[in-house]
Symmetry: C2
Subunit: 204 residues, 2 copies
């Protein structure tokens, strides 16, 4: 089974890259699908699930008593439950066949599937440009607000991963390939990156 | 002018990758050639130049007096002189035509040539394996000694770059592509990475 995980800074175009690679290679693609599946399983709203797994999660870190841990509130317990469902679903998806999975700490959760882990990043200027191009028409964030939002989302992702592993989110040692998309034409470069993945899986 | 710079951890195979990419693309290749040229220019021994620019250099950091700085010893002054020659030679090489340059902080020194900056790294196990395969027959370093040597050389490289810029050696933000060669077949992957470079230069 060839699994490609894409971890990415918000606004770096990692999602677009992942989707394009999956299309080129004929792999399944999972991104939002994971949130939808978790929400369905628990009969929760998708936004609630997303919020719990990303921005809310870090506020509910466990308190450790020896080798067991407990949570201070119900929200924390719910977050753990969602994480556990996510864990199971990711492994279910990965077992089905070749795929590209964007986000969700899949690089860590699917470690034993020996995935190709890609990290996608860009400088702040490129990320802001990308966010502006894709923002809803009525969104009028100031530059400073947009920057803060980008940092906040990435910080949520980093904390999400920190819950699962000591390996730091975005530290190159944890990935096979780190791609800086600043000024990069993602559409034009996707076939080359797909080739990299193909070569990687053939030779390992 | 298309310039590719390769920064690399010792033992990661960055030199091999750089040479192969240069061959595939028909670019000039500079590595040891730079040391040779500096040595010739000053009529010094090559090993002395290399030693001064790598391992010795960090021990002779300047003391700053306001906006000027002075050196505490003659070795420091000589190191500065060699750095300055290296700076001029790198720009001379880069001006001649498309090339791949390995090491020598070329990513920083040639910034205005808008190079494609690649960082090559690997886990310690892979680096040690690579070093053992390439070591002279009579070299019998213990694992701990080899590890220390690898770290020492990389630390020299990091300090060399630190003298030129605030941008941290090996921090992914300073590179366009970071390639983890652990378990990677460099020969097999070089054409794909050469394609990446070609695509990068075509689209920028």
């Amino acid at each position: 089974m060839n699994i490609i995980t894409i971890s990415r800074e918000f606004g770096s175009g990692g999602r677009e890259l992942g989707k394009r690679i999956a299309d080129i290679l004929g792999y399944s693609y999972y991104d939002r699908e994971i949130i939808t599946a978790i929400a369905e399983k628990h009969d929760y709203d998708e936004n609630y699930v997303e919020n719990m797994l990303e921005s809310k999660f870090p506020f509910t870190m466990p308190i450790t008593y020896g080798r067991t841990f407990s949570y201070t509130d119900a929200t924390g317990q719910q977050a753990i439950q969602l994480m556990s469902t996510q864990y199971k679903l990711l492994r279910e998806f990965a077992s089905k066949g070749n795929c590209v999975i964007v986000g969700r700490s899949a690089n860590i959760i699917l470690e034993e599937f020996d995935p190709l882990n890609i990290f996608v990043y860009a400088d702040m200027e490129s990320k802001m440009k990308r966010c502006r191009e894709r923002a809803p028409e009525n969104e009028n964030l100031k530059d400073s607000e947009l920057k803060r939002r980008i940092r906040q989302i990435d910080s949520g992702r980093a904390k999400h991963q920190k819950f699962l592993t000591d390996q730091k989110w975005g530290a190159k040692e944890g990935y096979h390939l780190c791609i800086n998309t600043s000024g990069l034409d993602i559409k034009a470069m996707s076939p080359v990156i797909a080739d990299y993945a193909k070569g990687y899986f053939e030779k390992r």
